[in-house]
C-alpha cells in the first residue's frame, strides 16, 4: 500500500440559505416534484465579488480548526473548480497559496472539473505525493455555480448549491486511498456546459443516462482493482446530483449496500458534494466506494479504506 490517506476535511457552505421546495412553483415545478424528484430542501448561495475564493478560504480555515497541521509542510495544493475560471488568472490555488503563506516549494495547480473533480484530485494528489515525495497535500474544491446559473432555469437553479471543501492528505492519514477508475465521454460534453452567454445549461436526461450507463461499471472496476469484491464494500457514496439520480443508481447497484441520498438539506455542491458528505457523516465501514460524475461528461470512482486505530503508518 502506498500509505497516503485523508487526515481531515474542512467544509464551507454559501452564506445564504434558500428554501428550495417553496421556490419550485415560481420556477414552474410543483413542490412535490422538487421534494420527490430533485430532493433538495435547501440550496446555498455565496454572494460577493469572488465567491470561489471566499468559500475556499473558509473551508481551509475550517480545516485548520479541526487539524493542527503546519502550513509549511504543504507541498501540493490542488484546487478544483470551473465556475469562475474565466476571470481566474492567476489560478485559484496560487491566490490561496499567497493568502495562507504556503512554502515556495509548494506546487499549485487548478483542475477544471465538476462533480467528479474531488475524486480525480485525490487520485492525482496521491500519485504526485508518491512520485515527488511530498509530505502533505491540500485538495480544495470550490465551485460556486450560482455565478453561472440562470435564476429562471428550473433545471439548474433548484439543484446547484454553493459550497467548498479542503481535504488534507498525508502519509499518516487514516482514510487510505485505494484503487480508482476514471473516465470521460466527451461526445456528451454539451449536456452540461456553459453556453455562449455565460449561462450553465444542463440536459438532465442525458446526464442521468450517462450516469446510469457508466457509474456502476466504474465502481466495479475500482473495487476489483483494489483487490476487493462487492461483498467487501460496506458503503457506496455517490455524488448527490439529485434524489432521482441517487435512487436510480441505487436500483442498479444491487450487489452493493444500497447508496443513500444524503444531501437533502445541502443541495448539489458540485465537486464539494462528496467531501461534504464524508465530513458530515464520516465513513462508517472499512471499505467505502466513492463515485463522482458530471461535467465532461466524466466519472471518477475511488475506494477508501478506513484504517483501524494504530495502523496509520503501515
Amino acid at each position: 500500500m502506498d500509505g497516503i490517506g485523508i487526515e481531515a476535511i474542512g467544509v464551507a457552505l454559501g452564506s445564504t440559505s434558500l428554501e428550495n421546495i417553496a421556490r419550485g412553483p415560481s420556477l414552474g415545478r410543483e413542490e412535490s416534484f422538487v421534494e420527490r424528484r430533485i430532493g433538495f430542501s435547501h440550496v446555498y448561495r455565496e454572494l460577493g465579488d469572488d465567491p470561489a475564493l471566499e468559500l475556499a478560504t473558509r473551508a481551509i480555515e475550517n480545516l485548520r480548526m479541526k487539524s493542527s497541521f503546519d502550513l509549511t509542510e504543504i507541498d501540493l495544493l490542488i484546487c478544483v473548480g470551473q465556475a469562475s475560471a474565466r476571470s481566474r488568472i492567476p489560478h485559484l490555488a496560487a491566490v490561496l497559496h499567497g493568502r495562507f503563506g504556503l512554502s515556495k516549494q509548494c506546487q499549485t495547480l487548478d483542475i477544471g472539473l465538476g462533480c467528479s473533480g474531488w475524486v480525480h484530485a485525490l487520485v492525482i494528489a496521491k500519485a504526485m505525493m508518491s512520485t515527488c515525495g511530498f509530505r502533505k497535500a491540500l485538495v480544495v474544491t470550490s465551485d460556486p455555480y450560482s455565478v453561472v446559473l440562470d435564476p429562471a432555469d428550473d433545471t439548474t437553479e433548484l439543484i446547484f448549491s454553493d459550497g467548498a471543501s479542503a481535504t488534507l492528505l498525508s502519509h499518516a492519514g487514516e482514510i487510505r486511498i485505494r484503487a480508482s477508475d476514471c473516465g470521460t465521454d466527451g461526445s456528451r460534453a454539451k449536456a452540461l456546459a456553459v453556453d455562449a452567454t455565460g449561462v450553465l445549461k444542463m440536459d438532465g436526461r442525458a446526464v442521468l443516462d450517462f450516469a446510469i450507463k457508466n457509474v456502476p461499471g466504474s465502481i466495479d472496476r475500482a473495487v476489483h482493482a483494489s483487490g476487493l469484491t462487492a461483498s467487501d464494500v460496506g458503503e457506496v457514496l455517490l455524488h448527490q446530483g439529485s434524489r432521482t439520480v441517487v435512487e436510480m443508481l441505487a436500483g442498479r447497484l444491487t450487489n452493493y449496500p444500497r447508496p443513500k441520498f444524503l444531501s437533502a438539506d445541502v443541495g448539489n455542491t458540485v465537486s464539494s458534494t462528496l467531501p461534504l458528505i464524508i465530513e458530515h457523516h464520516g465513513l462508517t465501514t472499512k471499505f467505502t466506494a466513492v463515485s463522482g460524475f458530471g461535467v465532461g461528461l466524466s466519472w471518477a470512482t475511488v475506494v477508501l479504506e478506513r484504517l483501524e486505530d494504530g495502523n496509520a503508518d503501515r
Partner: protein, 78 residues
C-alpha cells in the same frame, strides 16, 4: 419485438401511477399528462435495455408521447 402503444403502456405501468396511466392519451405530450422528464428517462432506458431501442440525446425530443415513441421506433425499423 415490435414497439407498439400497448408495449409502451406496459412499461409505463412500472414508472407512473395508475391514475396517470389510466388517463394517458397516446398522442398528447407526456408533460401535459403528468409524466415528467425523469419518468421519460426511465421509460427510454427500459426501451433500450429490454428492446434494444437506443435513442440518441438529439432524438429524445422526438419521443414526447406514446404515439411519438411508437412512430420513432417504426421509423428506426424502416
Amino acid at each position: 419485438m415490435q414497439i407498439d402503444s400497448e408495449l409502451v403502456r406496459t412499461l409505463l405501468e412500472e414508472i407512473v401511477s395508475s391514475d396517470v396511466l389510466a388517463g394517458l392519451v397516446d398522442d398528447e405530450s407526456f408533460r401535459d399528462q403528468g409524466v415528467d422528464s425523469l419518468d421519460v428517462v426511465t421509460l427510454l432506458l427500459a426501451l433500450e435495455e429490454r428492446f434494444g431501442l437506443v435513442v440518441p440525446d438529439a432524438d429524445v425530443p422526438l419521443c414526447s408521447s406514446v404515439a411519438a415513441i411508437v412512430a420513432y421506433a417504426q421509423g428506426r425499423d424502416n
